[in-house]
């Protein structure tokens, strides 16, 4: 612990951890923008869904777009994912992660929907 206080662990000669780029990239304006954008999008989605403003498929499309934009805003403003020298490897890992995430959910859902289609006996009150 005493070593840390002398800054030998700071790396790149940063004796002072406050000067580390990951501390310095905090931005009140960025955090506020991320908050505002995602809150407004969630408000719009909640309003449209609770008032049944459109047929289900249209609603699903609109709230999916809301989720997509809110996620991008949060990833950019809150998680600092960008192509700057300091953050590029976080960005690369996230880009490599996205196909794994989508395939895990998508292939599982696809497999089960096909399975249900072929194996489920028609039950009363079931629409397929």
């Amino acid at each position: 612990m005493s070593q840390a206080q002398h800054g030998h662990h700071g790396g790149h000669g940063h004796a002072d951890p406050i000067l580390h780029p990951e501390v310095q990239m905090s931005s009140g304006r960025g955090y506020f923008s991320g908050f505002l954008i995602s809150t407004l999008l969630m408000l719009i989605a909640t309003f449209l869904v609770s008032s049944h403003a459109a047929p289900p498929f249209g609603l699903l499309l609109v709230i999916t777009v809301c989720a997509g934009i809110a996620t991008i805003a949060q990833i950019y403003f809150l998680l600092h994912i960008d192509i700057s020298e300091h953050n590029i490897w976080n960005t690369v890992s996230l880009v490599a992660f996205i196909p794994l995430f989508v395939l895990t959910i998508g292939l599982t859902w696809w497999m089960f929907s096909q399975l249900y289609l072929r194996t489920m006996p028609p039950m009363p009150g079931m629409h397929g």
Partner: protein, 212 residues
């Protein structure tokens, strides 16, 4: 080749190697590692979303209640606001850290803690309310998937709250050392990541469940 002669360093004064070992940037190395952990945590959520996806057919509810019967969009929206404000408070605390303001950082952490507790209280109240109406994991496969997914997210919030308390103690006790500052950065990633996951939980589980 002789044209480069003027650029040739003087062998008597040239520094041919670094006198100091700079090593890895410890804070950056740890935070990349922690980010990779968060992405694997994202895969846990992927499996839970997949389970909910395949267990949200009409037959998955076995004739019992479906999310369309019990989800209250505006109630859950208030949870959304509590969590997003908590994340904002944490972010503001980190801008105070940048200004070396210990008081500002502690205020941000306390704000994040109180709003996170509010989120958790609203969540627990919701779960108890559902249980009082017989809507528990035992009701059907669909309800199991719904409750497990939403409560795994709530468990993340619970552990994040514990971590916030630990950081308040460490900052007061140890100040801004390389270790405490590194942990504050990891916690920032963890806390902000929960807001990203919540967007998916709120839109695709609560709202979509309510409308289908």
């Amino acid at each position: 080749m002789s044209g480069h002669a003027s650029n040739t360093p003087d062998p008597k004064t040239a520094v041919l190697w670094d006198t100091e070992y700079h090593g890895h940037d410890v804070i950056s190395t740890r935070s990349l590692g922690f980010f990779l952990y968060l992405l694997s945590d994202g895969m846990i959520f992927a499996t839970l979303f997949a389970a909910y996806g395949v267990l949200s057919y009409q037959h998955s509810y076995f004739g019992g209640p479906t999310p369309a019967d019990f989800v209250k969009p505006w109630y859950t929206f208030s949870q959304t606001i509590a969590l997003f404000l908590s994340v904002l408070a944490y972010g503001m605390g980190m801008t105070a850290l940048k200004r070396r303001s210990r008081g500002g950082l502690i205020n941000g952490l306390l704000g994040a803690f109180v709003l996170g507790v509010l989120f958790l209280v609203l969540d627990i109240h919701d779960v108890l309310d559902l249980a009082a109406h017989g809507i528990t994991v035992a009701a059907s496969g669909g309800i199991s998937a719904f409750i497990v997914l939403t409560q795994v997210h709530a468990a993340h919030i619970f552990f994040g709250l514990l971590w916030i308390l630990v950081m308040i103690y460490q900052v007061l006790r140890l100040g801004f050392t390389a270790d405490t500052v590194g942990r504050l950065l990891s916690l920032r990633m963890f806390w902000h990541f929960q807001a990203v996951v919540w967007v998916f939980v709120y839109i695709f589980v609560y709202l979509w469940g309510y409308m289908s």
